[in-house]
Symmetry: C2
Subunit: 255 residues, 2 copies
């Protein structure tokens, strides 16, 4: 059962404005919700699940002592943002992640400069997770990590990657002297660069890295295109994947 | 001006069934449409454009002798699939691309085994284009290249990449003896593999490479994940980007 007021409240969390005011966000679907329950690093306020979900996950629900309400598939449809809702929706308390400066100084960090597409943001958090990058710092103009599309695309990587919102000017004041690699169209060949630990900057989908951040780039790098191809660019998330892969390869296999 | 019948016809092309029956598809937006006009490899049946587009592209329209109708932004909204239509929509004649077997034997080829998401398909065609892969062969179960989302995500790469639908069993009969690399979860480390020209197989977003195609894989390769990360996989398009990048690097820089 779910009351009209609860439905209204959950629907209000479909909007960023309300998520920020309330300090709560929504996750959906069997895989994402069970991962959040198991992980335990986020406080789950409430779970709304169909009987299928509750039966199949009884042990998990009991062991983690999360409160849940059984709802019908019709009720789930009302509160879900998905075309085909998948058994369960949960309300989760937002966290204010803090920058780990020690990690910025000694490990690889991803900086996302004005990434606007939630799917791209989520995918890039997933890429960071894959390659062991523990911090993704987003410019304050970037899209929201708690957007349902970001969470969906991240496939649970938000549980393991520290996502922080911080303008680059602020970051660089604290991270002075750390190499800053920027993905641009006319930089040094990625594969020929001697890549070291530092900050990798990925720019906006349409406009690339902003002028303000460009000033702080110490190494402009480019994914070389094959000769005579006609393409102008790669999708930001794909570029991010290729660059993180090459950093990983050089740092793991060549050092 | 656009007639009611024309609106109805264009709207019918929003559906795959009708695109296949009619042999026409739709492209939208300033960038994609001008690229198709300039390229000339596809026959454009009709262009519906706002006055803004026509004024800005007068020379192009005249030089290429394409027929166009001026429509209002309101009319464009009626025929468009986009939330924010961008000046122009064109109806284009579909092509039956033919496999270039010589190219399969001597160059790198991408095989997409049951890729279902149109955005993923378009992105992977764009990746192929970037790295100079001239042929992308899709299983017949894969999504349609003329889906508007595929075309949008490909960013015009369909003009340069030969996209063909062919089941793997058919392909391998003709391409016998060519190395077949499959992206799997427990294969040889991508970065330690000695990559050669051949066919790269990317599998379905949820289920990976099908059992049928797996039998034909001669080299199972894996993108290694960082130790102790919790992630299970990368998005299919990102995996494709990383693998194509590493093939490109080895074939271009190490040979």
């Amino acid at each position: 059962m779910i009351s009209k007021n609860q439905i209204k409240y959950i629907q209000s969390l479909h909007l960023k404005k309300n998520r920020e005011e309330e300090g709560f966000f929504i996750i959906e679907g069997l895989k994402l919700v069970t991962e959040f329950i198991r992980d335990g690093s986020y406080k789950i306020k409430e779970i709304y699940a169909t009987s299928d979900f509750i039966e199949a996950n009884e042990d998990l629900l009991n062991s983690k002592k999360v409160t849940f309400s059984e709802i019908t598939p019709e009720e789930l449809k009302k509160i879900s943002l998905q075309v085909t809702p998948n058994q369960v929706l949960a309300i989760v308390e937002a966290k204010q992640n803090r920058l780990n400066l020690q990690q910025v100084a000694t490990e690889l960090t991803l900086y996302l400069d004005d990434i606007r597409d939630p799917g791209n943001l989520g995918t890039m958090i997933r890429i960071a997770d894959w390659f062991g990058i523990k911090q993704v710092i987003c410019s304050k103009t970037s899209t929201e990590v708690y957007n349902p599309k970001t969470l969906q695309a991240s496939m649970g990587a938000v549980l393991r990657v520290n996502v922080i919102y911080k303008d680059f000017s602020e970051l660089i004041k604290q991270a002075n002297g750390i190499p800053v690699y920027g993905a641009v169209l006319n930089g040094e060949d990625l594969y020929r660069s001697n890549l070291q630990r530092g900050i990798i900057v990925i720019g906006n989908e349409a406009n690339g890295i902003s002028a303000e951040v460009m000033k702080q780039i110490t190494h402009a790098i480019t994914i070389p295109a094959a000769a005579n191809n006609g393409s102008e660019s790669l999708n930001a998330a794909n570029a991010c994947a290729i660059i993180c892969s090459e950093f990983y390869r050089q740092l793991t296999y060549l050092s």
